[in-house]
């Protein structure tokens, strides 16, 4: 393999890997904070892309502002979905409700949300692909390898968002409360904190991350109604590989799956996904909690 090809594939791996990481961080925050396995996450990602399309391509706002608006709109959509669906649902659960029942019902509720968002988008925007003019169409030369600048920007932006998220979760009281709630909501209530709002924030934050992921990737690929369905499977896979409840695991898992897919597609073609899946199963056999996760469940 030539160095050029290697760099090309590496950049591709980092691009998709960083998108997975953003997706899975969102999934994980929602799952641990609110105990919802969010099947609508792919649709939130898709909506993020459409919102960017709307602001950037149609209204000609600048790219950074459009991206921020993507995140913010998705946070709003997430919060409204939580209040409209999951908050209502959680009122039925009591102390004695089993975890698996909560998981089943909330996962199925998220499936309902998924169907509504998916078809709703299809109705509003139609089935055709929407191209977004890349804000940075330049191609740069690295060791005689042609790499689109946008890919590097995507990696950079993802890294930036991860750093912001880290600062939010570890340096602000709000983030500390989010982390605390996923460990023990009752102890948090006893400090005078209204946990209902914390749950809403968890869902909103997770949704915003999905929206940002969709917005960032939109200029690289075109925006289609099916983009959400395609990414959700791999996101779940990354969630399992990395381990639920571990940020480092998520990042490691995202990069690993990104590398495997990028190099796999080059050398194996379409069966790369199968290969990745089998690998994940093998990892889970030996490490049921994922690579770096806390105990399973």
């Amino acid at each position: 393999m030539s160095l050029g090809l290697f760099i090309q594939l590496l950049v591709n791996a980092l691009t998709i890997g960083s998108i997975y990481i953003l997706m899975v961080l969102g999934l994980d925050i929602i799952l641990r904070g609110t105990k919802i396995l969010n099947f609508a996450h792919g649709q939130l990602y898709m909506l993020g892309a459409y919102v960017l399309f709307l602001f950037f391509q149609t209204l000609h706002l600048n790219f950074a502002l459009s991206l921020v608006l993507s995140g913010a709109s998705l946070a709003l959509i997430g919060a409204l979905s939580y209040l409209g669906i999951f908050a209502v649902l959680s009122r039925r659960f009591t102390v004695s409700t089993t975890f698996s029942y909560i998981l089943l019902l909330s996962a199925m509720a998220s499936v309902g949300l998924m169907m509504i968002l998916q078809q709703g988008t299809l109705l509003v925007f139609g089935t055709q692909e929407r191209g977004i003019q890349s804000p940075l169409p330049q191609i740069i030369d690295v060791f005689n390898v042609r790499i689109s600048l946008m890919r590097l920007i995507i990696i950079f932006l993802s890294l930036l968002i991860c750093i912001c998220l880290y600062l939010l979760m570890y340096k602000t009281t709000f983030g500390k409360i989010l982390r605390a709630v996923s460990y023990d909501p009752e102890a948090v209530t006893l400090q005078g904190i209204n946990t209902s709002w914390v749950f809403v924030s968890c869902f909103a934050l997770g949704s915003a991350l999905a929206g940002l992921a969709g917005g960032i990737i939109a200029p690289l690929f075109s925006v289609t109604p099916s983009m959400g369905q395609n990414i959700i499977f791999m996101s779940f896979l990354v969630l399992l590989v990395g381990g639920i409840g571990s940020y480092r695991g998520t990042i490691a898992g995202g990069l690993l799956v990104g590398l495997l897919l990028s190099f796999g597609f080059q050398f194996m073609g379409g069966i790369a996904e199968l290969f990745v899946f089998m690998l994940v199963i093998i990892i889970l056999v030996f490490r049921p909690g994922g690579l770096l996760g806390e105990a399973a469940e």
Binding site: K176, R179, A180, Y183, D184, A187, T189, L190, Q191, G192
Partner: protein, 235 residues
């Protein structure tokens, strides 16, 4: 009346665990609720702090009815609950635990002063501030839980079995901490299995048996009461 519990009845599922309990706490007083396991002590505290809704009966605090309010609202009124098993946030650092405890203090300066105050009283927590709370020893975890409750600036602290699982030396230390907190004008409801320590600290005591109060009165008088012993050891 500072805190008053009137004819409380509480169910856990089908089981009636509190069967008509009434009790009162005056300002600046230490009151202890003692009794064997399963007598309903923990449930009483959980009901007062709003974690559990009573089937019947009322709880009044500083002239307002608080039963039926959500737990976080009750904390804001000035009742801090140090729950059974400490319930510290194990994956977070000691300092982060304290910061969450100081959530109600909106003023930054005030919060910093609060931390300083805490570290004056619990120097060990200052030493361990960067450490993960789950790695503390039992006694240190208990101190953290109490410190966290103090940061809410409560008028009343309810402590559920602060001596559980601690060695005798640490239990004694805990006793000193409780007296110290009380000397700052904070009322304390102390739920304990370690009756002698509790009766030693408290001014008044309630003895619970099977969800009912079987004995109440001056703590000092109760320390040698044969009935207390029988409530534990079956006489």
């Amino acid at each position: 009346m500072f805190l008053e519990v009137k004819d409380l009845i509480v169910h856990y599922g089908k089981a009636e665990v509190i069967k008509g309990l009434s009790l009162k706490v005056e300002e600046k007083e230490i009151v202890t609720i003692i009794g064997a396991n399963g007598a309903g002590k923990t449930t009483t505290l959980r009901t007062i702090s709003g974690l559990k809704t009573p089937s019947r009966g009322e709880v009044w605090f500083c002239g307002g009815k608080i039963s039926g309010l959500k737990a976080h609202k009750i904390v804001r009124l000035g009742i801090s609950h140090v729950p059974e098993g400490r319930k510290i946030l194990a994956p977070l650092s000691v300092m982060e635990n304290l910061e969450i405890g100081a959530y109600l203090r909106k003023d930054k300066k005030e919060a910093v002063a609060g931390f300083k105050n805490i570290f004056d009283h619990f120097p060990i927590l200052n030493e361990r501030r960067k450490q993960i709370a789950g790695s503390l020893s039992g006694g240190e975890q208990q101190m953290l839980a109490i410190a966290r409750a103090l940061l809410n600036q409560p008028k009343l602290i309810m402590m559920d079995e602060p001596s559980t699982g601690l060695s005798p030396l640490v239990v004694e230390q805990m006793g000193l901490i409780i007296t110290d907190i009380n000397s700052r004008g904070i009322s304390i409801v102390l739920v304990e299995q370690n009756a002698r320590m509790a009766l030693n600290l408290a001014q008044r005591a309630y003895v619970l048996e099977a969800g009912k109060c079987v004995l109440e009165g001056e703590a000092s008088a109760m320390a040698n009461d044969q009935r207390v012993k029988s409530a534990y050891l079956g006489g």
